[in-house]
């Protein structure tokens, strides 16, 4: 039972209902961290990445959503991953460092008794298990980033560096860096030399990915900032320097930002180091980004969990193109009745003697089925129903959605319980979804041959996805780069919805373009 090894905990910051407004209308129905990407809640991806950390004792989700909103998910994921996951609710936003600090006692006093009680309600005397283990490292992850979370590799580097903390960084284009925390690291030692949050001028093309490892003494640093604030507030005196810092001063003493308050001051003091990822990384602020990140995670499944990806060539099931996730409870009717025109078969037989060409044409025609074509980048959630002859490209179909015969959905998110009528069409204006005309499988195939390693090919495939969306110049932050149907939206037969956002519980009986429908 007892382990003498050092233990690690992971803390995932999930935010709260007053945050993530850019994720509306989808966040009107569900906390953003629970919105599914590649068929799994957003927060599931960092959680399952944590599972790969050696000696992981516990995962905490920290946020200010109501406890009940996470209760169901937390209990099911704990059972599924066999790692205790617990939701810790902040009374109000404390900043990412403040939130962590708030729960420092709980996080550091991790002990097996507590865990066992929580999960097995151990009948044996809990005292037999009291072996207080020292927490050696704390992973801190932001929920709204999408990346491959190379956590064990990062931990190894962190141990090598011997600093207080290690930050995951990635190289981005100089034009896009300003939106993030830009940082400069020593090319040899990887020490963090300089950190600045969303600068006005270009500082560096290396940015903070929002994934960290800290030693427990990070709490001392956070505590220091908090105490400083209190002291300054008590002095009630404003020096000229303080006036400049008034933005900081106005913050309550228990609100501590990780970036400005901790990372910036500690840079260049041999305390913080960086670990650069070569994989993909994105921030999930908008629904448009959710769709893109869903594609990245689906592509990653090829390597990590290919059993989750659907397959089918259209003969007895839907024809699947590229990476597609279909929840086991979703009903994808492959063929209506496996229809072949009986009259045309008869004709084909009768006309057998008329020459091969004619018969070939005839049989080709008879062969036309009502099968769907799904993909690339499609996720279909629980209990969704996809009727015969439906075409889905680059979309997220949420729980209990019904898509009727011959409908088309391109680059869209279809909200829970929505219904899309026969021959209706929900799409964006431009085919800005991931290289639409490029046969994805062909590319993967070529890369596989080139690299002789399937996973290597997948990495390239992910990078291509990444590149193609950057080159497309698609403004993923623009609201209307995607069509979104909120919960229980009813699109009637033959209606076309282009580049629009429809709030929940609306019925569309005529076509709309470039509109937000309240």
């Amino acid at each position: 039972m007892a382990s003498s090894e050092e233990r690690v905990v992971a803390v995932i910051m999930v935010g709260g209902p007053t945050k993530g407004t850019r994720f509306r209308p989808l966040s009107l129905n569900i906390p953003k961290p629970l919105f599914p990407l590649a068929g799994q809640p957003m927060v599931h991806h960092p959680i399952s990445a944590c599972k790969r950390i050696p000696n992981l004792a516990q995962i905490y989700l920290v946020g200010f959503y109501e406890e009940r909103e996470f209760a169901l998910y937390v209990s099911s994921i704990s059972n599924e991953l066999k790692v205790p996951v617990r939701y810790l609710r902040e009374d109000k936003p404390h900043g990412s460092a403040g939130g962590l600090y708030n729960f420092r006692d709980l996080i550091l006093e991790d002990n097996p008794v507590f865990i066992f009680c929580y999960y097995t309600s151990a009948k044996a005397s809990p005292l037999t298990f009291v072996i207080v283990e020292r927490i050696s490292h704390i992973f801190l992850l932001n929920c709204d980033v999408c990346c491959s979370f190379p956590l064990p590799e990062m931990l190894e580097a962190h141990r090598r560096y011997g600093g207080m903390g290690t930050i995951l960084v990635i190289k981005v284009s100089a034009e896009s860096a300003y939106q993030f925390g830009e940082l400069v690291a020593d090319p040899v030692t990887n020490e963090l030399l300089h950190y600045t949050e969303k600068p006005e001028t270009f500082v560096s093309d290396r940015i903070n990915c929002g994934v960290y490892i800290f030693r427990p003494d990070i709490f001392t640093a956070i505590g220091g900032v908090s105490t400083q604030r209190k002291d300054r507030a008590n002095l009630r005196r404003m020096s000229s320097f303080d006036a400049l810092q008034s933005a900081t001063r106005s913050l309550p003493s228990d609100f501590v930002r990780l970036d400005q308050d901790i990372l910036s001051p500690l840079a260049g003091k041999k305390q913080l180091y960086t670990y650069e990822t070569m994989d993909f990384w994105e921030q999930i602020k908008t629904p448009g980004m959710a769709l893109k990140c869903s594609a990245l995670y689906l592509a990653q499944y090829r390597c990590t969990s290919s059993h989750l990806l659907a397959s089918g060539d259209g003969t007895n099931s839907a024809s699947i193109i590229g990476d597609v996730y279909i929840h086991p409870s979703a009903k994808v009717h492959s063929t209506a009745k496996n229809i072949v025109t009986s009259s045309s078969i008869d004709k084909a037989n009768l006309l057998d003697g008329l020459g091969d060409e004619f018969v070939f044409q005839q049989s080709k025609f008879s062969d036309s089925k009502m099968g769907q074509s799904i993909g690339p980048n499609v996720s279909i959630s629980a209990n969704a129903r996809v009727g015969p002859g439906v075409r889905l490209i680059s979309c997220i179909i949420l729980d209990d959605v019904e898509i009727k015969e011959n409908a088309v959905v391109i680059h869209a998110i279809v909200g829970w319980k929505s219904s899309i009528g026969r021959w209706s069409r929900v799409q964006v204006s431009q085919e800005c979804y991931t290289y639409p005309n490029m046969p994805i499988l062909l590319i993967t195939e070529i890369l596989r041959i080139l690299h002789k390693s399937f996973c290597n090919a997948i990495q390239w495939h992910i990078r291509l996805l990444h590149l193609s969306s950057e080159q497309a110049g698609g403004d993923h932050n623009a609201k209307l780069g995607i069509t979104i149907l909120g919960e229980a939206v009813n699109v009637e037969d033959e209606v076309v919805v282009v580049n629009s956002i429809v709030l929940p519980n609306k019925t569309l009986n005529m076509s709309v373009q470039e509109e937000i429908i309240l």
Binding site: A336, I339, K369, P388, V390, V408, W423, S429, E431
Partner: protein
């Protein structure tokens, strides 16, 4: 009896269809527009049709040659070297129209589709004893047209009022006339208008009579009216010979399907659809208020409404074509593409969606 059909020029209003064939040869309800008229003329005993044309007469004559023998009717062209208006072509074709019989002859505007009640106009002409008979039709907005003011009981025309600002009547010239040969003596060989110069003079002499055209009438010279005209034509066909219309579980309303076309399973077709010869409509396709011309292929799950699909074009699977989209000859709309009011010139491939009505050169 003889007839003159005023074909006129380039048919620019019906482009891009008229970039491939002269306007009278553009199919309407699976038949070139002009054949509707020639067949109706033949049915009332017309033996010779003169086409007044100033553009591509060879193409017309080559095409109509086979119908000359098939219908047993003589078809000739009278080519204008300069535009002669609506009356000038009558003077040009004078020799072809006049024979010893002294019978009246028909003059038709080639853009007009109706039930062609020629029998009725012949009887009307005989009954009133005037020099000329014209057909008039009731419209909702007479201010857009030339209104014919007539004496209701006898039909005697008093005057023509072009685009009246105040209401003078709601009957307009329907472009179908029956004229005595003597009318030709009133027309000089120069550009001149029959409505503005010839008819007012005859009316002034109380020798012009108008008859209200029974049934539907539509000038199908432009795409929107072409699509409306098809609806009216099919409604009329339903009343007169409904056996020509398609029946079946997948058919809604009035649908005309050429017997050489194939329609797949799970389609929903209609109302007001015409599918020409040699077309292939694959499974799961939705068609409404549209014309699918000869040799078109509509691939699986596509949806077409309020549009005209030109000869030998293809519409890709899961494509959506609507809102007055007009595809010229041999246009290919790729899979999953959306066309909202695209007007596409012949021999083009459409690879990206057309979201707002626009012309694709």
């Amino acid at each position: 009896m003889k007839a003159l059909i005023l074909v006129g020029g380039f048919g620019t209003r019906l482009r891009p269809l008229t970039l491939s064939v002269p306007k009278p040869l553009v199919d309407f309800a699976n038949k070139p527009m002009i054949l509707h008229q020639i067949e109706a003329l033949k049915a009332v005993g017309v033996t010779e049709v003169v086409l007044a044309i100033n553009y591509q007469p060879e193409v017309m004559l080559n095409f109509l040659k086979e119908f000359e023998t098939k219908l047993g009717i003589k078809i000739t062209c009278s080519q204008e070297t300069e535009p002669l208006g609506t009356a000038g072509p009558l003077a040009l074709a004078r020799d072809k129209l006049i024979d010893d019989s002294g019978e009246p002859f028909f003059v038709l505007n080639s853009d007009v589709i109706s039930e062609y009640p020629f029998k009725e106009i012949i009887e009307f002409h005989k009954s009133h004893g005037g020099e000329a008979s014209i057909m008039v039709t009731k419209v909702d907005e007479p201010s857009k047209y030339g209104v014919v003011v007539m004496e209701e009981s006898t039909g005697q025309v008093e005057k023509f009022v072009e685009k009246p600002k105040i209401f003078v009547g709601n009957k307009i010239n329907a472009g179908i006339y029956l004229l005595d040969p003597s009318v030709l003596d009133r027309i000089q060989l120069r550009p001149t208008s029959i409505e503005k110069e010839v008819f007012p003079k005859i009316a002034a002499e109380k020798k012009l009579y108008a008859m209200v055209l029974p049934g539907f009438w539509m000038d199908i010279g432009q795409p929107r009216d072409y699509i409306t005209g098809l609806r009216l034509y099919l409604d009329s066909l339903r009343k007169k010979s409904s056996s020509k219309l398609a029946v079946g579980a997948h058919i809604v309303g009035n649908v005309l399907v050429d017997e050489t076309s194939k329609i797949g399973e799970g389609c929903l077709i209609g109302p007001d659809v015409a599918i020409g010869p040699g077309c292939v409509v694959e499974s799961g396709v939705r068609l409404s208020r549209c014309t699918i011309m000869r040799g078109v292929r509509v691939k699986k799950h596509a949806c077409i409404s309020s549009s005209i699909i030109g000869w030998h074009s293809t519409v890709g699977q899961w494509a959506r074509v609507e809102n007055m989209t007009i595809l010229g000859e041999d246009v290919h709309v790729c899979d999953e593409i959306y066309s909202n009011g695209g007007v596409v010139l012949p021999h083009k491939e459409i690879k990206s969606s057309i979201l707002k009505p626009e012309i694709v050169m």
